[in-house]
Symmetry: C2
Subunit: 223 residues, 2 copies
DNA sequence: AGTTGATTTAAACGGTTGTTTAAATCAACT
DNA sequence: AGTTGATTTAAACAACCGTTTAAATCAACT
Protein backbone atom coordinates (compact mmCIF):
# COMPACT_ATOMS: atom_id res chain seq x y z
CA UNK A 1 0.00 0.00 0.00
CA UNK A 2 2.55 2.61 1.11
CA UNK A 3 4.57 3.29 -1.97
CA UNK A 4 6.31 6.28 -0.33
CA UNK A 5 4.85 8.71 -2.80
CA UNK A 6 6.48 12.09 -2.81
CA UNK A 7 4.04 14.37 -4.55
CA UNK A 8 1.19 15.67 -2.46
CA UNK A 9 -1.28 14.94 -5.21
CA UNK A 10 -0.32 11.28 -5.25
CA UNK A 11 -0.32 11.06 -1.46
CA UNK A 12 -3.83 12.47 -1.39
CA UNK A 13 -5.02 10.01 -4.03
CA UNK A 14 -3.57 7.05 -2.16
CA UNK A 15 -5.05 8.12 1.17
CA UNK A 16 -8.38 8.88 -0.46
CA UNK A 17 -8.57 5.42 -2.01
CA UNK A 18 -8.02 3.94 1.44
CA UNK A 19 -10.47 6.12 3.32
CA UNK A 20 -13.17 6.24 0.65
CA UNK A 21 -12.90 2.47 0.35
CA UNK A 22 -13.31 1.97 4.06
CA UNK A 23 -16.09 4.44 4.72
CA UNK A 24 -17.73 5.32 1.40
CA UNK A 25 -18.20 8.69 -0.22
CA UNK A 26 -20.54 10.34 2.22
CA UNK A 27 -19.16 8.94 5.46
CA UNK A 28 -15.56 9.67 4.58
CA UNK A 29 -14.45 13.20 5.41
CA UNK A 30 -11.81 15.23 3.67
CA UNK A 31 -10.27 15.91 7.07
CA UNK A 32 -9.65 12.19 7.59
CA UNK A 33 -8.13 11.98 4.14
CA UNK A 34 -6.01 15.06 4.70
CA UNK A 35 -4.72 13.69 7.99
CA UNK A 36 -3.93 10.29 6.48
CA UNK A 37 -2.09 11.99 3.62
CA UNK A 38 -0.33 14.42 5.92
CA UNK A 39 -1.56 17.50 4.10
CA UNK A 40 -3.87 20.37 4.79
CA UNK A 41 -7.55 20.14 3.99
CA UNK A 42 -7.32 23.08 1.64
CA UNK A 43 -4.74 21.23 -0.46
CA UNK A 44 -7.46 18.77 -1.42
CA UNK A 45 -9.67 21.52 -2.71
CA UNK A 46 -6.71 23.01 -4.49
CA UNK A 47 -5.63 19.92 -6.41
CA UNK A 48 -9.06 18.45 -6.98
CA UNK A 49 -12.01 20.76 -7.19
CA UNK A 50 -13.54 19.40 -4.01
CA UNK A 51 -14.59 16.19 -2.30
CA UNK A 52 -16.57 15.00 -5.30
CA UNK A 53 -13.75 15.74 -7.69
CA UNK A 54 -11.33 13.71 -5.62
CA UNK A 55 -13.81 10.87 -5.31
CA UNK A 56 -14.48 10.76 -9.02
CA UNK A 57 -10.78 10.45 -9.76
CA UNK A 58 -10.34 7.72 -7.15
CA UNK A 59 -13.29 5.72 -8.45
CA UNK A 60 -12.19 6.05 -12.04
CA UNK A 61 -8.66 4.88 -11.16
CA UNK A 62 -10.03 1.99 -9.09
CA UNK A 63 -12.18 0.64 -11.89
CA UNK A 64 -9.45 1.15 -14.44
CA UNK A 65 -6.84 -0.75 -12.44
CA UNK A 66 -9.24 -3.58 -11.65
CA UNK A 67 -10.28 -4.16 -15.24
CA UNK A 68 -6.67 -3.90 -16.40
CA UNK A 69 -5.33 -6.40 -13.90
CA UNK A 70 -8.19 -8.83 -14.43
CA UNK A 71 -9.36 -8.59 -18.05
CA UNK A 72 -12.73 -10.19 -18.54
CA UNK A 73 -11.53 -12.45 -21.37
CA UNK A 74 -8.37 -13.53 -19.50
CA UNK A 75 -6.48 -13.43 -22.77
CA UNK A 76 -8.88 -15.84 -24.43
CA UNK A 77 -9.47 -15.27 -28.12
CA UNK A 78 -13.01 -14.10 -28.94
CA UNK A 79 -13.62 -17.21 -31.05
CA UNK A 80 -13.20 -19.60 -28.15
CA UNK A 81 -16.24 -21.66 -27.12
CA UNK A 82 -18.81 -19.69 -25.18
CA UNK A 83 -18.49 -21.93 -22.13
CA UNK A 84 -14.77 -21.21 -21.94
CA UNK A 85 -15.38 -17.49 -22.32
CA UNK A 86 -17.97 -17.67 -19.56
CA UNK A 87 -15.47 -19.38 -17.30
CA UNK A 88 -12.94 -16.66 -18.01
CA UNK A 89 -15.51 -13.97 -17.35
CA UNK A 90 -16.68 -15.44 -14.06
CA UNK A 91 -13.20 -16.23 -12.75
CA UNK A 92 -11.81 -12.81 -13.58
CA UNK A 93 -14.93 -11.18 -12.19
CA UNK A 94 -14.64 -13.00 -8.87
CA UNK A 95 -10.91 -12.33 -8.60
CA UNK A 96 -11.30 -8.69 -9.54
CA UNK A 97 -14.12 -8.19 -7.08
CA UNK A 98 -12.82 -10.24 -4.16
CA UNK A 99 -9.12 -10.90 -4.68
CA UNK A 100 -6.44 -9.21 -2.58
CA UNK A 101 -4.75 -7.98 -5.76
CA UNK A 102 -8.10 -6.69 -6.93
CA UNK A 103 -10.72 -4.83 -4.97
CA UNK A 104 -10.42 -7.01 -1.90
CA UNK A 105 -14.08 -7.78 -1.43
CA UNK A 106 -16.32 -6.18 1.13
CA UNK A 107 -13.48 -5.42 3.48
CA UNK A 108 -11.48 -3.81 0.69
CA UNK A 109 -12.10 -1.27 -1.99
CA UNK A 110 -15.02 -3.21 -3.42
CA UNK A 111 -16.99 -1.65 -0.62
CA UNK A 112 -16.78 1.57 -2.56
CA UNK A 113 -18.82 -0.04 -5.30
CA UNK A 114 -21.23 -1.51 -2.79
CA UNK A 115 -21.83 1.92 -1.31
CA UNK A 116 -22.15 3.33 -4.78
CA UNK A 117 -25.09 0.97 -5.23
CA UNK A 118 -26.63 1.86 -1.89
CA UNK A 119 -26.73 5.49 -2.87
CA UNK A 120 -25.16 6.43 -6.15
CA UNK A 121 -22.97 9.49 -6.42
CA UNK A 122 -22.77 11.58 -9.58
CA UNK A 123 -19.59 9.66 -10.39
CA UNK A 124 -21.42 6.37 -10.99
CA UNK A 125 -22.81 7.17 -14.42
CA UNK A 126 -19.34 7.93 -15.71
CA UNK A 127 -17.68 4.68 -14.64
CA UNK A 128 -20.68 2.74 -15.89
CA UNK A 129 -20.22 4.22 -19.34
CA UNK A 130 -16.45 3.80 -19.31
CA UNK A 131 -16.04 0.34 -17.83
CA UNK A 132 -19.17 -1.55 -16.87
CA UNK A 133 -21.34 -1.23 -19.95
CA UNK A 134 -18.79 -2.79 -22.32
CA UNK A 135 -18.36 -5.76 -19.99
CA UNK A 136 -22.09 -6.18 -19.61
CA UNK A 137 -22.36 -6.33 -23.41
CA UNK A 138 -19.61 -8.94 -23.49
CA UNK A 139 -21.40 -11.16 -21.00
CA UNK A 140 -24.72 -10.78 -22.77
CA UNK A 141 -23.11 -12.00 -25.99
CA UNK A 142 -21.64 -15.03 -24.24
CA UNK A 143 -24.99 -15.88 -22.71
CA UNK A 144 -26.81 -15.42 -26.01
CA UNK A 145 -24.39 -17.82 -27.67
CA UNK A 146 -24.98 -20.34 -24.91
CA UNK A 147 -28.73 -19.94 -25.14
CA UNK A 148 -28.62 -20.48 -28.88
CA UNK A 149 -30.37 -18.61 -31.67
CA UNK A 150 -33.93 -17.41 -31.53
CA UNK A 151 -34.04 -16.67 -27.83
CA UNK A 152 -35.58 -13.42 -26.67
CA UNK A 153 -32.98 -10.82 -25.66
CA UNK A 154 -34.68 -10.31 -22.33
CA UNK A 155 -34.04 -13.95 -21.48
CA UNK A 156 -30.33 -13.43 -22.09
CA UNK A 157 -30.47 -10.31 -19.98
CA UNK A 158 -32.12 -12.16 -17.12
CA UNK A 159 -29.46 -14.88 -17.24
CA UNK A 160 -26.76 -12.24 -17.33
CA UNK A 161 -28.11 -10.65 -14.19
CA UNK A 162 -28.43 -14.05 -12.55
CA UNK A 163 -24.73 -14.69 -13.12
CA UNK A 164 -23.54 -11.29 -12.02
CA UNK A 165 -25.93 -11.29 -9.10
CA UNK A 166 -24.38 -14.42 -7.62
CA UNK A 167 -20.89 -12.92 -7.67
CA UNK A 168 -22.02 -9.54 -6.45
CA UNK A 169 -23.88 -11.06 -3.55
CA UNK A 170 -20.69 -12.27 -1.94
CA UNK A 171 -19.27 -8.77 -2.08
CA UNK A 172 -22.40 -6.86 -1.14
CA UNK A 173 -23.96 -9.05 1.51
CA UNK A 174 -20.81 -9.83 3.47
CA UNK A 175 -22.24 -8.49 6.75
CA UNK A 176 -25.18 -10.84 6.32
CA UNK A 177 -23.02 -13.80 5.39
CA UNK A 178 -20.72 -13.50 8.38
CA UNK A 179 -23.73 -13.21 10.67
CA UNK A 180 -25.51 -16.14 9.03
CA UNK A 181 -22.57 -18.50 8.57
CA UNK A 182 -19.80 -17.44 10.95
CA UNK A 183 -18.21 -20.87 10.75
CA UNK A 184 -17.54 -20.28 7.07
CA UNK A 185 -14.21 -18.65 6.40
CA UNK A 186 -14.16 -15.41 4.47
CA UNK A 187 -14.90 -15.72 0.79
CA UNK A 188 -11.72 -13.84 -0.03
CA UNK A 189 -9.76 -17.02 0.71
CA UNK A 190 -11.79 -19.31 -1.54
CA UNK A 191 -12.27 -17.28 -4.66
CA UNK A 192 -11.52 -20.03 -7.15
CA UNK A 193 -13.99 -22.37 -5.47
CA UNK A 194 -16.61 -19.66 -5.58
CA UNK A 195 -15.93 -18.97 -9.25
CA UNK A 196 -16.19 -22.64 -10.11
CA UNK A 197 -19.47 -22.96 -8.23
CA UNK A 198 -20.94 -19.91 -9.95
CA UNK A 199 -19.80 -21.22 -13.33
CA UNK A 200 -21.34 -24.67 -12.90
CA UNK A 201 -24.50 -23.31 -11.33
CA UNK A 202 -24.93 -20.79 -14.12
CA UNK A 203 -24.27 -23.25 -16.93
CA UNK A 204 -26.95 -25.48 -15.44
CA UNK A 205 -29.28 -22.53 -15.09
CA UNK A 206 -28.83 -21.52 -18.70
CA UNK A 207 -29.48 -25.08 -19.86
CA UNK A 208 -32.70 -25.23 -17.91
CA UNK A 209 -33.82 -21.86 -19.27
CA UNK A 210 -33.29 -23.21 -22.79
CA UNK A 211 -35.36 -26.28 -21.94
CA UNK A 212 -38.21 -24.28 -20.46
CA UNK A 213 -38.34 -21.95 -23.45
CA UNK A 214 -38.36 -24.68 -26.08
CA UNK A 215 -40.75 -26.98 -24.25
CA UNK A 216 -43.35 -24.53 -23.07
CA UNK A 217 -42.86 -20.96 -24.21
CA UNK A 218 -45.77 -19.37 -22.38
CA UNK A 219 -47.12 -21.52 -19.59
CA UNK A 220 -45.58 -22.82 -16.41
CA UNK A 221 -44.21 -26.01 -17.95
CA UNK A 222 -46.04 -29.33 -18.32
CA UNK A 223 -45.85 -32.27 -15.88
CA UNK B 1 -49.67 5.61 3.45
CA UNK B 2 -51.42 8.34 5.48
CA UNK B 3 -53.53 6.41 7.92
CA UNK B 4 -54.37 9.56 9.89
CA UNK B 5 -52.75 8.26 13.06
CA UNK B 6 -53.55 10.24 16.12
CA UNK B 7 -50.86 9.37 18.64
CA UNK B 8 -47.60 11.20 18.24
CA UNK B 9 -45.64 8.00 18.73
CA UNK B 10 -47.42 6.34 15.82
CA UNK B 11 -47.07 9.41 13.63
CA UNK B 12 -43.34 9.43 14.30
CA UNK B 13 -43.03 5.73 13.47
CA UNK B 14 -44.91 6.14 10.20
CA UNK B 15 -42.88 9.15 9.13
CA UNK B 16 -39.65 7.46 10.17
CA UNK B 17 -40.43 4.38 8.07
CA UNK B 18 -40.94 6.65 5.08
CA UNK B 19 -37.84 8.82 5.57
CA UNK B 20 -35.50 6.05 6.71
CA UNK B 21 -36.64 3.97 3.76
CA UNK B 22 -35.97 6.75 1.31
CA UNK B 23 -32.65 7.95 2.66
CA UNK B 24 -31.23 5.26 4.93
CA UNK B 25 -30.18 5.47 8.54
CA UNK B 26 -27.28 7.85 8.30
CA UNK B 27 -28.55 10.19 5.61
CA UNK B 28 -31.98 10.57 7.18
CA UNK B 29 -32.16 13.29 9.81
CA UNK B 30 -34.45 13.40 12.79
CA UNK B 31 -35.43 16.90 11.77
CA UNK B 32 -36.82 15.60 8.46
CA UNK B 33 -38.70 12.91 10.34
CA UNK B 34 -39.99 15.38 12.90
CA UNK B 35 -41.22 17.71 10.21
CA UNK B 36 -42.91 14.91 8.28
CA UNK B 37 -44.59 13.74 11.47
CA UNK B 38 -45.52 17.26 12.52
CA UNK B 39 -43.82 17.04 15.88
CA UNK B 40 -40.85 18.58 17.61
CA UNK B 41 -37.42 17.00 17.30
CA UNK B 42 -37.20 16.53 21.04
CA UNK B 43 -40.34 14.39 20.98
CA UNK B 44 -38.40 11.77 19.05
CA UNK B 45 -35.76 11.59 21.73
CA UNK B 46 -38.45 11.47 24.35
CA UNK B 47 -40.44 8.54 22.96
CA UNK B 48 -37.51 6.59 21.53
CA UNK B 49 -34.16 6.96 23.17
CA UNK B 50 -32.65 8.61 20.12
CA UNK B 51 -32.17 8.22 16.39
CA UNK B 52 -30.85 4.69 16.71
CA UNK B 53 -33.68 3.64 19.00
CA UNK B 54 -36.25 4.88 16.52
CA UNK B 55 -34.45 3.21 13.64
CA UNK B 56 -34.25 -0.12 15.42
CA UNK B 57 -37.98 -0.10 16.07
CA UNK B 58 -38.74 0.83 12.46
CA UNK B 59 -36.48 -1.88 11.06
CA UNK B 60 -37.89 -4.52 13.35
CA UNK B 61 -41.46 -3.60 12.37
CA UNK B 62 -40.53 -3.57 8.68
CA UNK B 63 -39.07 -7.07 8.72
CA UNK B 64 -41.92 -8.37 10.85
CA UNK B 65 -44.62 -7.03 8.52
CA UNK B 66 -42.83 -8.30 5.41
CA UNK B 67 -42.41 -11.84 6.65
CA UNK B 68 -45.98 -11.89 7.94
CA UNK B 69 -47.53 -10.71 4.68
CA UNK B 70 -45.36 -12.99 2.54
CA UNK B 71 -44.62 -16.17 4.48
CA UNK B 72 -41.78 -18.10 2.95
CA UNK B 73 -43.78 -21.33 2.67
CA UNK B 74 -46.83 -19.57 1.18
CA UNK B 75 -49.05 -21.87 3.22
CA UNK B 76 -47.48 -24.98 1.75
CA UNK B 77 -47.24 -27.96 4.08
CA UNK B 78 -43.65 -28.85 5.03
CA UNK B 79 -44.02 -32.31 3.44
CA UNK B 80 -44.60 -30.90 -0.04
CA UNK B 81 -42.00 -31.72 -2.71
CA UNK B 82 -38.84 -29.67 -2.38
CA UNK B 83 -39.25 -28.12 -5.82
CA UNK B 84 -42.67 -26.78 -4.84
CA UNK B 85 -41.29 -25.44 -1.58
CA UNK B 86 -38.49 -23.74 -3.48
CA UNK B 87 -41.00 -22.13 -5.80
CA UNK B 88 -42.94 -20.85 -2.81
CA UNK B 89 -39.77 -19.54 -1.22
CA UNK B 90 -38.56 -17.74 -4.31
CA UNK B 91 -41.93 -16.27 -5.21
CA UNK B 92 -42.62 -15.00 -1.71
CA UNK B 93 -39.07 -13.71 -1.46
CA UNK B 94 -39.34 -11.72 -4.69
CA UNK B 95 -42.76 -10.35 -3.79
CA UNK B 96 -41.69 -9.46 -0.28
CA UNK B 97 -38.56 -7.75 -1.50
CA UNK B 98 -39.91 -6.00 -4.58
CA UNK B 99 -43.70 -5.97 -4.39
CA UNK B 100 -45.67 -2.79 -3.73
CA UNK B 101 -47.42 -4.50 -0.80
CA UNK B 102 -44.01 -5.58 0.46
CA UNK B 103 -40.85 -3.59 0.68
CA UNK B 104 -41.24 -1.99 -2.73
CA UNK B 105 -37.80 -2.78 -4.08
CA UNK B 106 -34.98 -0.32 -4.36
CA UNK B 107 -37.28 2.66 -4.59
CA UNK B 108 -39.20 1.53 -1.52
CA UNK B 109 -38.40 0.36 1.94
CA UNK B 110 -36.14 -2.43 0.68
CA UNK B 111 -33.56 0.27 0.26
CA UNK B 112 -33.30 0.26 4.03
CA UNK B 113 -32.01 -3.29 3.86
CA UNK B 114 -29.69 -2.43 1.01
CA UNK B 115 -28.17 0.38 3.04
CA UNK B 116 -27.97 -1.92 6.01
CA UNK B 117 -25.70 -4.11 3.88
CA UNK B 118 -23.59 -1.20 2.70
CA UNK B 119 -22.84 -0.22 6.24
CA UNK B 120 -24.57 -2.20 8.95
CA UNK B 121 -26.04 -0.44 11.94
CA UNK B 122 -26.16 -2.07 15.38
CA UNK B 123 -29.76 -2.98 14.58
CA UNK B 124 -28.79 -5.51 11.91
CA UNK B 125 -27.68 -8.32 14.20
CA UNK B 126 -31.03 -8.27 15.96
CA UNK B 127 -33.20 -8.59 12.87
CA UNK B 128 -30.89 -11.27 11.49
CA UNK B 129 -31.43 -13.35 14.60
CA UNK B 130 -35.17 -12.70 14.71
CA UNK B 131 -36.15 -13.07 11.08
CA UNK B 132 -33.44 -13.88 8.58
CA UNK B 133 -31.63 -16.79 10.19
CA UNK B 134 -34.76 -19.00 10.42
CA UNK B 135 -35.53 -18.39 6.76
CA UNK B 136 -31.97 -19.10 5.73
CA UNK B 137 -32.22 -22.44 7.55
CA UNK B 138 -35.46 -23.17 5.74
CA UNK B 139 -33.92 -22.55 2.32
CA UNK B 140 -30.84 -24.60 3.15
CA UNK B 141 -33.08 -27.57 3.99
CA UNK B 142 -34.95 -27.24 0.72
CA UNK B 143 -31.71 -27.10 -1.23
CA UNK B 144 -30.26 -30.06 0.65
CA UNK B 145 -33.34 -32.09 -0.21
CA UNK B 146 -32.98 -31.13 -3.87
CA UNK B 147 -29.29 -31.96 -3.87
CA UNK B 148 -29.97 -35.37 -2.37
CA UNK B 149 -28.23 -37.18 0.46
CA UNK B 150 -24.49 -37.28 0.92
CA UNK B 151 -23.78 -33.81 -0.38
CA UNK B 152 -21.43 -31.58 1.58
CA UNK B 153 -23.24 -28.89 3.58
CA UNK B 154 -21.06 -26.20 2.07
CA UNK B 155 -22.37 -27.11 -1.38
CA UNK B 156 -25.91 -26.54 -0.15
CA UNK B 157 -24.84 -23.27 1.39
CA UNK B 158 -23.29 -22.13 -1.89
CA UNK B 159 -26.47 -22.96 -3.80
CA UNK B 160 -28.52 -21.17 -1.17
CA UNK B 161 -26.47 -18.03 -1.63
CA UNK B 162 -26.70 -18.37 -5.41
CA UNK B 163 -30.49 -18.35 -5.18
CA UNK B 164 -30.76 -15.50 -2.72
CA UNK B 165 -28.07 -13.56 -4.54
CA UNK B 166 -30.07 -13.49 -7.75
CA UNK B 167 -33.13 -12.03 -6.03
CA UNK B 168 -31.14 -9.60 -3.96
CA UNK B 169 -29.32 -8.33 -6.99
CA UNK B 170 -32.47 -6.85 -8.44
CA UNK B 171 -33.09 -4.96 -5.24
CA UNK B 172 -29.52 -3.90 -4.52
CA UNK B 173 -28.16 -3.07 -7.93
CA UNK B 174 -31.12 -1.12 -9.22
CA UNK B 175 -29.05 2.01 -9.99
CA UNK B 176 -26.76 -0.16 -12.11
CA UNK B 177 -29.63 -1.92 -13.84
CA UNK B 178 -31.41 1.26 -14.86
CA UNK B 179 -28.15 2.67 -16.19
CA UNK B 180 -27.28 -0.54 -18.03
CA UNK B 181 -30.69 -1.44 -19.39
CA UNK B 182 -32.85 1.69 -19.40
CA UNK B 183 -35.16 0.22 -22.00
CA UNK B 184 -36.15 -2.47 -19.50
CA UNK B 185 -39.11 -1.50 -17.35
CA UNK B 186 -38.68 -1.51 -13.60
CA UNK B 187 -38.48 -4.94 -12.04
CA UNK B 188 -41.24 -4.02 -9.64
CA UNK B 189 -43.75 -4.50 -12.45
CA UNK B 190 -42.56 -7.97 -13.47
CA UNK B 191 -42.06 -9.72 -10.19
CA UNK B 192 -43.72 -13.00 -11.13
CA UNK B 193 -41.63 -13.28 -14.29
CA UNK B 194 -38.50 -12.64 -12.29
CA UNK B 195 -39.47 -15.24 -9.70
CA UNK B 196 -40.13 -17.81 -12.40
CA UNK B 197 -36.79 -17.09 -14.04
CA UNK B 198 -34.92 -17.39 -10.76
CA UNK B 199 -36.74 -20.63 -9.97
CA UNK B 200 -35.95 -22.28 -13.30
CA UNK B 201 -32.39 -20.99 -13.38
CA UNK B 202 -31.77 -22.21 -9.85
CA UNK B 203 -33.31 -25.64 -10.38
CA UNK B 204 -31.02 -26.06 -13.38
CA UNK B 205 -28.07 -24.83 -11.37
CA UNK B 206 -28.74 -27.30 -8.57
CA UNK B 207 -29.04 -30.15 -11.07
CA UNK B 208 -25.70 -29.28 -12.60
CA UNK B 209 -24.07 -29.06 -9.20
CA UNK B 210 -25.31 -32.56 -8.43
CA UNK B 211 -23.88 -33.78 -11.73
CA UNK B 212 -20.50 -32.18 -11.16
CA UNK B 213 -20.24 -33.61 -7.65
CA UNK B 214 -21.16 -37.18 -8.60
CA UNK B 215 -19.13 -37.31 -11.80
CA UNK B 216 -15.90 -35.66 -10.73
CA UNK B 217 -15.70 -34.81 -7.05
CA UNK B 218 -12.37 -33.03 -7.06
CA UNK B 219 -11.27 -31.99 -10.51
CA UNK B 220 -12.67 -29.57 -13.02
CA UNK B 221 -14.89 -32.04 -14.84
CA UNK B 222 -14.10 -34.28 -17.80
CA UNK B 223 -14.06 -33.21 -21.47
C1' DA C 1 19.33 38.98 -4.99
C1' DG C 2 14.81 39.74 -6.72
C1' DT C 3 10.55 38.71 -9.00
C1' DT C 4 6.94 35.66 -10.29
C1' DG C 5 3.77 32.09 -10.01
C1' DA C 6 2.47 27.77 -8.08
C1' DT C 7 1.76 25.44 -3.82
C1' DT C 8 0.80 24.84 1.14
C1' DT C 9 -0.89 26.45 5.36
C1' DA C 10 -3.69 28.17 9.60
C1' DA C 11 -7.85 30.00 10.47
C1' DA C 12 -12.34 31.07 9.92
C1' DC C 13 -17.11 30.72 7.61
C1' DG C 14 -21.75 29.17 7.12
C1' DG C 15 -24.43 25.28 7.63
C1' DT C 16 -26.11 20.88 9.49
C1' DT C 17 -26.03 17.18 12.67
C1' DG C 18 -27.90 14.52 17.15
C1' DT C 19 -28.86 15.62 21.62
C1' DT C 20 -30.11 18.27 25.75
C1' DT C 21 -32.19 21.83 28.62
C1' DA C 22 -35.75 24.11 30.82
C1' DA C 23 -39.98 26.07 30.34
C1' DA C 24 -44.80 25.53 28.70
C1' DT C 25 -48.87 22.71 27.92
C1' DC C 26 -52.00 19.07 28.69
C1' DA C 27 -54.88 15.39 31.06
C1' DA C 28 -56.36 13.21 35.11
C1' DC C 29 -57.46 12.91 39.70
C1' DT C 30 -58.28 14.94 44.61
C1' DA D 1 -59.60 25.03 41.90
C1' DG D 2 -55.32 22.83 42.71
C1' DT D 3 -51.79 19.42 42.39
C1' DT D 4 -49.27 15.98 39.98
C1' DG D 5 -47.06 13.70 36.39
C1' DA D 6 -46.62 12.86 31.61
C1' DT D 7 -46.03 15.09 27.24
C1' DT D 8 -44.69 18.72 23.92
C1' DT D 9 -42.25 22.71 22.76
C1' DA D 10 -38.71 26.50 21.53
C1' DA D 11 -34.16 27.27 22.04
C1' DA D 12 -29.58 26.37 22.74
C1' DC D 13 -25.44 23.22 22.81
C1' DA D 14 -21.33 21.09 21.20
C1' DA D 15 -19.42 18.76 17.45
C1' DC D 16 -18.66 18.14 12.80
C1' DC D 17 -19.12 18.98 7.81
C1' DG D 18 -17.18 20.97 3.02
C1' DT D 19 -15.44 25.04 1.46
C1' DT D 20 -13.12 29.52 1.35
C1' DT D 21 -9.94 33.20 2.51
C1' DA D 22 -5.71 35.37 2.87
C1' DA D 23 -1.26 34.97 4.32
C1' DA D 24 3.03 32.20 4.26
C1' DT D 25 6.20 29.19 1.87
C1' DC D 26 8.50 27.22 -1.91
C1' DA D 27 10.77 26.61 -6.61
C1' DA D 28 12.36 28.44 -10.80
C1' DC D 29 14.05 31.81 -13.69
C1' DT D 30 16.09 36.68 -14.74
Amino acid sequence: MNESLTGTRERILAAAAEIFGARGFKAATIRQIAEAAGVNVAAINYHFKGKLGLYTEVLEALLSEGFTRYPADMGLCPEAPAAQRLEAFVRSFCNRLLGPEGWGGYHGKARLIVKEMADPSPALAEVVDHHIRPHKRMLVEIVQELLGPGVAPQAALACTFSIVGQCFYYAMAQPLLTLLAPEREDVETRIEELAEHVLIFSLGGIDKIVDSLSVAPGDGGGP
